[in-house]
């Protein structure tokens, strides 16, 4: 059962129980909705930008432990980062959860490294990346809900 503990690390379970930045930003200048039709996960990501810098970021919605913890930790990691830094971090995170060698070592994953176990569970990659795809849609100003399918 060690594989299971690799996936459901304590940090992930803790974020699932008490997600950070789980709120609406009423004055959000960017927001998008993301949907995973396979399991019904649905999140809204809110952003308030200061020029190119993410001044505030939050999310709301329902989903599995992996998708919720991923959304929660994403909001923690991205506050104060630039759009470009956010994009790079997503790239690095995507490599991590899909089990690819990182395209670049320059980006520090920090505590997002707890998601490394996801690469052993290919069907759960969509859960781990849903919030990030939604973030991208929000930054690009997409109006329609994005879907992982």
């Amino acid at each position: 059962m060690s594989d299971l503990r690799d996936l459901y690390q304590d940090v992930i379970l803790e974020h699932c129980k008490a997600p950070r930045n789980y709120r609406e930003i009423p004055a959000a200048d960017h927001k998008a909705e993301g949907f995973n039709p396979l399991c019904g996960d649905r999140f809204t990501v809110y952003l308030a930008l200061d020029g190119d810098v993410i001044r505030d970021i939050s999310f709301q919605g329902t989903g599995c432990a992996i998708s919720k913890a991923s959304a929660s930790m994403m909001t923690q990691m991205l506050k104060g980062k630039t759009r470009e830094e956010a994009e790079k971090l997503f790239g690095r995170f995507h490599d991590l959860v899909t089990g690819h060698a990182p395209a670049s070592e320059e980006v520090e994953l920090g505590k997002l490294a707890v998601f490394s176990g996801v690469s052993e569970f290919p069907v759960r990659v969509k859960c781990a990346t849903l919030a990030w795809h939604t973030l991208q849609a929000a930054l690009e100003g997409k109006q329609e809900a994005i879907s992982t399918e």
């Binding site: 299971l4 396979l38 019904g40 996960d41 649905r42 989903g63 599995c64 432990a65 759960r124 859960c127």
Partner: protein
């Protein structure tokens, strides 16, 4: 069955038999059930999605391709005659299985979805017009919603859905109220795939017929679990998929009453469905070929017949009684676990145990059970309106077949314990 397996079954005999139902002997007929998944014995509880295949079905497919393969209804040569004979034999097997009055009332389709689409396109487009209504229920699979929705949109008709109660049962009085002068067709599931509810289809058909409304029954979840007699039900259309009843994928059956099918226009055009073709005019073939354009899934039909023969040989009534016992056992065991909530608690149920564990997302439940070799389905089960009715995004669903045992239910219960441990 291998000799060893047969011997094993015979030796175990009465000790493991359930009345006359010896589940261990049945299990030995299904090669995949001998497999280990992630080093653990497979506990396959995803039968409402698709069923496993007995050796008899696998052998029938191999035998067809090794000994009979040819196109049907055309050739004058030996193999074509033999393939045609086997294919039409499969139709007669399906006829007997449903107790249809005639083999030409059995149309081979790809599955339940195509069967419903056929009726929506052919019967629906010629009988349903602007202002008319199609009545379904709040527990339908998407395949018994979307074809009607598309038809209604095209024709300016309205799709109505009769509500279900907190136990997941159809509220019959509400259904009766919605069955009005504008209703042109009723589409109803025999057994709900998400909830396991068995609908009172006989009563529904009687009521609909008293108002001259024909009824299509979606039997996808019913035929693996209980005997079906379309003449006793008096349904106008009955549809099921082969792969859910231990047959191959890609084949299914649409039963329709002769008089209705005769009057319906073809669904698809092409070979086999014609009697004569000129560029000016085509004369359509008679039933059932009018609805079977193109080369059919010959091996699929033969494999399906082998599956139907297999369960008929065991006895649908015995299967129903055995599964009822296992489902009761599972319901008691799973609902006794703290924090578990059952979704679908109808008095009449078959085959399905949908549940939630505290606020753990079903997807997490599915992953943790999978690590223990237990296959269940998680998600909305292609029944999003049902999820909305219960205000939940998804459920975890264990669904049974004749080969499941109480020991497997015990494994499920232990698996749920593991889920609770991880999410403690």
């Amino acid at each position: 069955m291998t000799t060893a397996a047969r011997k094993l079954g015979a030796e175990r005999g009465p000790a493991l038999a359930h009345g006359e139902f010896d589940v261990q002997r049945i299990r030995a007929d299904f090669p995949i059930l001998q497999k280990k998944i992630r080093g653990k014995p497979l506990v396959y509880l995803d039968n409402a999605a698709t069923s496993q295949k007995p050796r008899a079905v696998i052998d029938a497919l191999v035998r067809y391709y090794e000994e009979s393969n040819s196109n049907v209804h055309r050739g004058v040569h030996y193999l074509s005659e033999r393939a045609t004979e086997e294919f039409e034999g499969a139709r007669r097997t399906a006829q007997r299985f449903l107790n249809a009055a005639s083999p030409h009332e059995i149309i081979f389709v790809r599955g339940t979805t195509e069967g419903i689409n056929l009726v929506a396109h052919s019967y629906g487009r010629s009988h349903i017009g602007a202002g008319d209504e199609v009545l379904i229920t709040g527990m339908e699979h998407h395949s018994n919603i979307v074809p009607w929705q598309m038809l209604c949109k095209e024709k300016g008709a309205t799709l109505r859905a009769a509500p279900i109660n907190d136990d997941g049962e159809l509220i019959f009085e509400e259904f009766a109220k919605l069955l009005g002068p504008k209703t042109r067709l009723v589409g109803i599931t025999h057994i709900s795939n998400a909830l396991g509810t068995v609908n009172p289809v006989r009563k529904i058909i009687e009521l609909a017929h008293s108002r001259n409304v024909p009824v299509l029954v979606d039997g996808a979840q019913a035929v693996p679990h209980q005997s079906v007699d379309v003449q006793a039900l008096d349904c106008d259309f009955y549809v099921f998929s082969g792969h859910k009843v231990f047959g191959p994928t890609g084949i299914g059956v649409l039963y329709g009453k002769s008089a209705l099918l005769e009057a319906m226009p073809p669904y698809q055009g092409g070979g086999d469905m014609i009697r004569s073709v000129t560029f000016e005019k085509t004369v359509y073939n008679h039933l059932p070929y009018k609805f079977e354009a193109g080369t059919p899934d010959i091996s699929g039909a033969i494999g399906l017949a082998a599956a139907l023969d297999y369960i008929t040989g065991i006895g649908l009534d015995k299967i129903a009684a055995y599964e009822h016992d296992v489902l009761e056992y599972a319901t008691r065991a799973v609902s006794a676990i703290p924090g578990v909530r059952l979704i679908g608690t109808a008095r009449e149920k078959a085959g399905v145990l949908s549940f939630l564990i505290g606020d753990v997302h079903p997807h997490d439940i599915g992953t943790i059970l999978d690590q223990q070799g237990i296959a269940i389905r998680t998600g909305h089960h292609c029944s999003q309106p049902v999820m909305e009715r219960f205000n939940i995004p998804a459920t975890a669903r264990a669904s049974l077949a004749l080969y499941n045992t109480k020991e497997e239910i015990d494994a499920l219960v232990r698996g749920i314990g593991k889920v609770r441990e991880v999410f403690a």
